[in-house]
Symmetry: C2
């Protein structure tokens, strides 16, 4: 179970999950959950949130503040059983099972997005008694990106010349931007504001292509292994460079250096070599560069089309990988002649899950009763916890507070236990 180690770790440090949202993509399942560390009550009282409950500074007595932490976990979609086990082990399920209302467990609803929210709806119902409350995928991605860009300090950064540079974006100057989410496939969304967006493009050459082709071409078994392998490779062993065609010369007239890639995998047309004659790390590197460069180019062309100077990249494909970010950033810079900038996000893989999380609403009110709130007006997050990642499954847990309407019932009946 890929998520096992971290799941155990999270269980130790988070006793209760108050809210959880899930994004089930073609390759990966991403989960975001909020935990308060309070003990779950086993009687019919309201949950023991007293230690975390605080009056909202503006005197809004209808709301409470829960202090806690947002956690980020992923599983491979092909191993969805591991995800089911993980969820079954968490308090949200245990609470439900102990409720005096015998049918309570059937009424657990969690926010879910991605195609798997449709595909696996019956499985979640059957195995966990959980109803997946579907949130539209693009809407979730946008809500998640907006949340991160507005609320989390040191979230967005540029990657130039191997250097990360964090950017604090002025909230009044955030829109419009192009959101490029690289999942199994790639979606490109023009974002004009909160809930104002349009999916303008995409490409099928994405993370699924990297892992799919990578698995066929190397002996790698996982995305992380393939990414690690690519780190050690040299794409010039297998890509056909301009210099390979021009006898070592630049093609100066059209501004292509001899080292520019003329044809990805072009050297592999050689008759005398077979797959076994190439190093897997060179193949992985070439593949990563081909896909990253292609995404950067298509992103730039779409940004150009709508006059968007800021391109925000999300999706687990990026995975804070230096070479991937460098290739995308260089592609955007090359094609835009420095006019457009690629920006990356620390929680890049969890936009959809975060957006679904933001979708929790009080059914009895128009206003959003559940929201991550700020201690100050500009930032809802106390600090970024764990800036050095523990492992690949945990992506920087975020300490934060949740503003909850007193009329809001988390997990419907279950939360009454």
């Amino acid at each position: 179970m890929e998520g096992k180690g971290i799941a155990g770790k999270l269980l130790e440090k988070s006793d209760e999950i108050s809210h959880l949202a899930i994004d089930i993509g073609g390759s990966l399942i991403k989960i975001v959950y909020f935990s308060t560390n309070s003990k779950c009550s086993t009687n019919d009282e309201a949950p023991t949130l007293s230690k975390e409950r605080q009056e909202v500074p503006n005197g809004d007595l209808n709301h409470h503040i829960l202090s806690g932490r947002l956690y980020f976990v992923k599983f491979e979609t092909s191993k969805i059983e591991d995800c089911i086990k993980f969820l079954a082990s968490k308090k949200l399920q245990q609470c439900g099972a102990q409720c005096r209302h015998s049918h309570a467990v059937d009424k657990i609803k969690i926010k879910a997005t991605g195609g798997g929210a449709f595909k696996f709806a019956d499985l979640f119902k059957e195995k966990l008694g959980i109803t997946l409350d579907k949130v539209e995928e693009m809407e979730s991605l946008v809500a998640g990106a907006n949340f991160l860009l507005k609320a989390v300090n040191r979230e967005a950064f540029t990657y130039i010349g191997g250097q990360k540079e964090y950017v604090q974006i002025d909230q009044n100057d955030l829109y419009p931007y192009l959101l490029v989410n690289i999942g199994s496939g790639v979606s490109m969304i023009k974002v004009d504001g909160e809930g104002k967006f349009q999916r303008v493009s995409g490409t099928s050459v994405g993370g699924g292509t990297f892992l799919g082709l990578g698995k066929l071409l190397t002996k790698c078994k996982s995305f992380d292994e393939l990414l690690e392998l690519s780190h050690q490779g040299n794409n010039r062993m297998i890509d056909m460079l301009v210099g390979d065609i021009y006898g070592g010369m630049d093609y100066t007239k059209i501004g292509l250096a001899s080292t520019a890639i003329a044809s990805s995998f072009g050297k592999a047309i050689s008759e005398n070599k077979e797959l076994e004659d190439y190093k897997p790390e060179d193949i992985a590197r070439s593949l990563l560069r081909m896909i990253s460069n292609n995404i950067g180019q298509i992103a730039y062309l779409n940004a150009l089309r709508f006059g968007l100077k800021r391109i925000i990249l999300g999706g687990y494909f990026i995975h804070d990988h230096a070479y991937t970010m460098d290739t995308i950033a260089v592609a955007v810079d090359f094609w835009s002649k420095g006019e457009a900038k690629a920006m990356f996000l620390r929680h890049e893989g969890f936009l959809g899950a975060l957006g679904a999380f933001m979708n929790y609403k009080d059914e009895n009110a128009d206003s959003m009763p559940l929201q991550l709130v700020a201690k100050s007006s500009s930032c809802i997050v106390d600090r970024i916890h764990n800036s050095t990642r523990v492992d690949e499954n945990e992506t920087g847990a975020v300490d934060c507070r949740l503003r909850v309407s007193s009329s809001f019932k988390i997990y419907d009946e279950v939360k009454r236990c």
Copy 2:
């Protein structure tokens, strides 16, 4: 020798090559030559062109008309020795060798383009005594495309719903257009007129990628074999479709059918399968579709950028292959919502070589002394010969006439033999 069969065939039916141009790319060498069928003189007289020589209708006595045929031949660049042998066997070389001027052979110059005109210049000099007279690659592509579009009947066609439809383009309405040449890599050129153009984009995901990745993933040895294999495959066995993610449903909100490809090669992320578990034909098909679709999309985005409604596709990658053309045409149609049209060319693989051929000029005059001329004002070509291709090496030989300045010396000194 890939060109051997056709080379022999051509030798039988063409006794003398009067003009020849060569395009040496990263994967393929393309040759265009004009043959008059006249016998080469072995004395010091002018070549025996009397039978073909005609007065130009407008009474221009300084020019002659050569009747003959344009031939199109290709070799793999990795087998350049075969190309050298082919050229050595042709009359242009034999003429040179028999000249009374002992150094004449050293003065053969042929028009050459592509990176290989630089890379292999010394080899041609050494093995054949031929100097490659370099013509800039983009300039050649544009000249070749303009020639075909203006001069050759039934050259350009659309491919919609599996049907070719020939288009006779009004010469007054030809420009501007986007020329997309798919060689090992892809160049995208905005063409505004004769010699007026700008390379505006390109991608490294081209023909070299198809053959390179195809060779690594299947047991195919050649481009043609890989293309043939793809014809029998089903990309849905290996591509991840929208329906695979959404449990068989369309993603209607963003207009993606369940059958749309969400992630090229995305199904190959499956843990339980290895390369051997997939059919090579399905892999070839998926690869072809990924690359064709990607090129179609990037081409459309560039056409949109410059307001170009016509996208002309060239390069040997297309190779009159139904599925390739269909995928590109559908991609352009899909992304442009029917606004832009993809058009293909019968002699798609020889734009560069044809353009280099058009570059023969009289060094003593400003006007172009050598040009393919029309019998009528609108068309220089009598007819398209051999509309059913003999084999993959011959692409529709073209009967035509060559207008030659009397002061023009073909092959420099050599033509005096």
